[in-house]
């Protein structure tokens, strides 16, 4: 503590001083067109980043060493956690994740300042804007510091001195996928800060009649954006895998507000990358491309606000609890910066009757199709934005709460995706063939699509189950067959493959070939993904069955066999074996540890070997391990035998005897030997309820293994370990939930094509990597 503030907060304060200093100086250098303060700026930006880095390292050290004088550390970790989860506890909650985000943003901003590859006036404004965002982050962190002392945040806890253990990490986050999901997400977010600053600078420069930096930086911007796109795709995928494996809620995507929110910047990025492609080669989208690039950063801030604000309840609400006004300030100011200069410029442009660069070329040429693709990505993003927003708007306006379910998102997105596949196929085909041929092909595919959509619309193949009273649109689109998506997807994949084959034959450069491979993999992967996701949604089937008294089962007894309602499966539960972590014996203290515990503790658990027994009129006492710690009980209730190792739970009392320092007084229920410990009275941190389950389809064993649910002491939450039987055509997914009175509810789901879905994503990711590394036009050296 220095002047009443912790050392960590001082580090953040250094960043909150140096950051704004660099921002102001960079802004001045831009305004006055000078480079007088370059050295100061370099030092100030470096100091900002180093201070934030030191703060993060310091916080991490506090987590690893278990420094519970820090409230944030106490609240987000505990001694029992392995090193990996002590590290990830750092960003388990708001403050730590803002620190991580701030640091990554600072690294990106500082890199542009130190490299200083572009010596134009606008570069200083770009750097000033990027450092400005870092400065707001740093200020936010000082006012809501992750280094607040325990005594300030939790005075009740701190009143008894520094706790020996932390309150733990949210069990849902104890998972390897969750360990890497946040850093990847925040890296993707951080990379967008420079494109944002560039987009804003572009319009400010143009309005002031200066040269644009955007044009000069376009190749490197494309790389920033592609890296961000790659990371964001990976982050969303990891989140999906986590939901599938860990939440045990049966699904990888449920249109939860957070999932929907993160999809918006992803779709935005996809739209921007497509429009930049045109901008780079022809200069079209002179307003839209930089404006859209700038808006991406506000979009990710919006996604974060949705995650953390608590306005939208979701599976991510563990991170809620109010992120404060800082993030809202960033959201408001970056949105204004991204939108206002672009609009002003656009208005003036209209006055100047420019737009001459806008068109030309055939009516149905590649530029037109690409334009439609960009609009379609924006439309998809709008479906998500609107789905998040209109319930809030309608509730505020009329007090009526309306529901938004998966059906809204699925049925509004589906036709857009179908048209995107058709358009994308046409784009690829148009490169080699005339407009007439392509239009003819599209018409033919459209006819096949509609024939499939209407002709194969068996009830179980329909996109949604609809009722006669549902709105017309839902009945029409919901009544289509899911197979509608197959012909356009096939056309799309074939078109891009054809384009690839044609291009590669004409290309000599290895790098360009690899880049083209990346492009084709992204598109073919997307087609696989879209088909697999659609089919998984429609053909997944779920049924459940309740098994009363499941916790009474054991291996040697008769198993319970039940048919699962609504599925062709039969489930057999043959064994129940709960596992406590830690076990009562592991949790018990040694005599030496008993002496150092807080004397006001109501109950202690101790283990040791009985070395001496003394019997009095009413009481028997026994010495443990030859120490000054004894255990005792009413005479005749507990048999203490010398030489046996006992586990005893009881109240701690001071016997006021010279050779006994502590006496643990117990009774029959609370005492036992190491072989037969008093498990019933013991509340472990985690109980892992493990059921041996076999799933049959007819006579055939589909899945065989453990279905488990974990419950946690002092937390109203459970986690589940599903049993997943993977197959080439789909996964069978079994999850068990404990019900009242020792029952078990087994839910069996079938996810067809689940692995094809992961394959599609993987193909896209590989393609993105290739494109990122090998595109010579975007910075890769030949």
């Amino acid at each position: 503590m220095i002047f009443g503030t912790t050392a960590g907060t001082w580090l953040l304060a250094v960043a909150a001083f140096a950051g704004p200093l660099a921002t102001v100086l960079l802004g001045y250098q831009y305004a006055a067109d000078t480079r007088a303060y370059d050295r100061v700026i370099r030092v100030a930006t470096s100091v900002t980043t180093l201070a934030l880095a030191s703060a993060l390292v310091y916080l991490t050290v506090q987590f690893v060493t278990g420094d519970y004088t820090n409230a944030y550390v106490w609240d987000n970790t505990a001694n029992y956690l392995p090193l990996l989860y002590k590290l990830t506890g750092v960003y388990a909650s708001n403050k730590g994740s803002v620190l991580l985000w701030a640091l990554l943003t600072a690294v990106v901003a500082t890199t542009t300042v130190l490299l200083n590859r572009f010596d134009v006036r606008g570069a200083r404004l770009t750097q000033a804007l990027a450092m400005g965002v870092v400065s707001v982050f740093a200020t936010m962190l000082v006012s809501d510091s992750p280094f607040v002392p325990l005594a300030a945040e939790f005075p009740d806890i701190a009143a008894n001195g520094v706790p020996a253990d932390g309150s733990g990490l949210n069990p849902l986050l104890v998972d390897p996928f969750m360990a890497i999901h946040p850093p990847i997400t925040f890296s993707a977010y951080a990379l967008l800060v420079v494109p944002f600053a560039l987009g804003v600078t572009h319009f400010v420069s143009r309005l002031r009649g200066h040269d644009s930096v955007f044009v000069e930086w376009i190749d490197s911007t494309t790389r920033w954006l592609r890296a961000s796109w790659l990371l964001l795709t990976a982050a969303i995928t990891l989140g999906g895998i986590w939901a599938y494996r860990v939440l045990g809620w049966g699904g990888f995507w449920s249109w939860d507000p957070v999932e929907t929110a993160v999809l918006i910047p992803w779709l935005g990025l996809s739209a921007v990358l497509h429009s930049l492609n045109r901008y780079r080669t022809t200069g079209q989208y002179s307003v839209l491309a930089p404006a859209a690039t700038a808006i991406l950063f506000p979009l990710v801030v919006f996604a974060t606000t949705v995650v953390r604000s608590g306005v939208f309840r979701s599976v991510h609400s563990f991170a809620g609890g109010g992120i404060g006004s800082g993030i809202l300030f960033i959201l408001g100011s970056t949105t204004a910066l991204a939108v206002v200069p672009a609009f002003v410029y656009w208005f003036r442009l209209q006055d100047a009757a420019e737009g001459a660069t806008a068109d030309g070329g055939p009516r149905f040429g590649q530029p037109t199709i690409l334009h439609a693709a960009v609009l379609a990505f924006v439309l998809l993003a709008f479906v998500s934005v609107w789905g998040l927003s209109f319930p809030v708007i309608r509730n505020l306006a009329s007090g009526v709460e309306v529901g938004v379910d998966a059906r809204y998102y699925n049925l509004w997105s589906f036709p857009v995706v179908v048209f995107m596949l058709l358009g994308g196929g046409a784009y690829a085909q148009r490169e080699r063939m005339s407009g007439r041929t392509v239009l003819g092909t599209v018409a033919a595919v459209l006819v096949v699509t509609l024939a499939v959509g209407i002709g194969l619309a068996r009830p179980e193949w329909q996109l949604a189950t609809t009722e006669p009273f549902d709105p017309l649109y839902y009945r029409v689109v919901g009544g289509l067959s899911v197979l509608t998506v197959v012909p356009p997807a096939a056309y799309f994949a074939a078109g891009w493959t054809g384009r690839f084959v044609d291009r590669v034959a004409r290309i000599d450069s290895r790098r360009v070939r690899l880049k083209e491979t990346g492009v084709v993999l992204i598109h073919v992967g997307a087609a696989i993904l879209v088909v697999a996701v659609s089919l998984v949604y429609v053909f997944s089937a779920t049924g459940s069955v309740g098994i009363a008294g499941a916790t009474g089962l054991d291996d040697s007894g008769e198993p319970v066999v039940r048919a699962v309602e609504g599925t062709p499966y039969t489930v057999e539960v043959s064994d129940y074996r709960p596992a406590n972590t830690p076990t009562v014996t592991e949790a018990a203290l040694s005599p030496a540890e008993v002496l150092s515990t807080d004397p006001s503790a109501t109950a202690v658990l101790v283990r040791g070997e009985v070395t001496e027994v003394q019997r009095f009129e009413n009481v028997t006492i026994a010495q443990l391990d030859g120490s000054s710690v004894w255990v005792g009980a009413d005479r005749g209730t507990v048999a203490f035998e010398p030489g046996t190792e006992v586990v005893v739970r009881g109240s701690l009392s001071d016997p006021r005897s010279t050779n006994i320092d502590a006496l643990v007084y117990t009774d029959r229920e609370n005492a036992g030997t190491v072989d037969d410990p008093p498990t019933d009275v013991y509340q472990p941190r985690v109980v892992d309820h493990r059921f041996q389950v076999t799933l049959y389809r007819g006579e055939e064993v589909v899945a065989d293994g453990i279905v488990a649910e974990q419950s946690y002491r002092g937390r109203d939450m459970n986690t589940n370990d599903p049993l997943i039987a993977r197959g080439p055509l789909g996964d069978t997914y079994v999850v068990g939930t404990m019900t009242r009175g020792g029952g078990l509810s087994i839910e069996v789901s079938r996810y067809p094509l689940a692995n094809q879905m992961w394959f599609g994503v993987l193909t896209m990711l590989v393609g993105m990597c290739l494109l990122f590394v090998f595109d010579p036009a975007a910075g890769a050296r030949d």
């Binding site: 334009h371 709008f382 609107w386 209109f390 309608r394 529901g403 509004w412 109203d716 019900t739």
Partner: protein, 154 residues
């Protein structure tokens, strides 16, 4: 107007039409006095529900739910839309409390120790709790509980 401008105009028309249509087509989850989980009309105020239960001499089914709770969705889709379950629910006064925004149901939720969704309680018209369903149960079991609860609570 060139092709791309036409496309852009069409885009905005689609956006506006879609936004307007979808907002009005969205199912109402709750208004001033009711919530509509699973397409049923639930009371949201315990006082009103108790009055209704006493005047109609029916037991009360209390349902604790949340918007993000996937098991609640299963209840909605699989249980409450089922004819047999609905027939059984006719014998009950229905009271649903959103655990994230319990409003007037806050005290009852505390009294019932309903801390996580989904949960159900069956109460007599006098407000005495006779049965609890914690978490998810499949349909047949829910039907059994509802039948037994109706007998016990009247």
């Amino acid at each position: 107007m060139n092709t791309r401008k036409t496309l852009t105009v069409a885009f905005f028309v689609v956006v506006l039409a879609m936004g307007y249509y979808s907002m009005n087509a969205a199912p109402v989850v709750s208004d001033e006095a009711h919530t509509y989980e699973g397409g049923l009309e639930w009371q949201t105020e315990p006082g009103t529900a108790l009055e209704m239960a006493q005047s109609q001499d029916k037991p009360i089914l209390v349902y604790y739910w949340a918007t993000w709770c996937t098991y609640c969705d299963t209840y909605s889709d699989n249980h409450y839309r089922n004819e047999t379950v609905r027939a059984e629910l006719d014998g009950y006064v229905l009271l649903a409390i959103n655990l994230d925004e319990p409003g007037p149901g806050e005290d009852l939720a505390r009294q019932h120790e309903a801390t996580y969704p989904p949960q159900h309680r069956i109460m007599t018209p006098e407000g005495e709790t006779v049965t609890s369903i914690e978490g998810y149960v499949e349909r047949q079991q829910m039907l059994r509980i509802l039948r037994r609860g109706a007998e016990e609570a009247t």
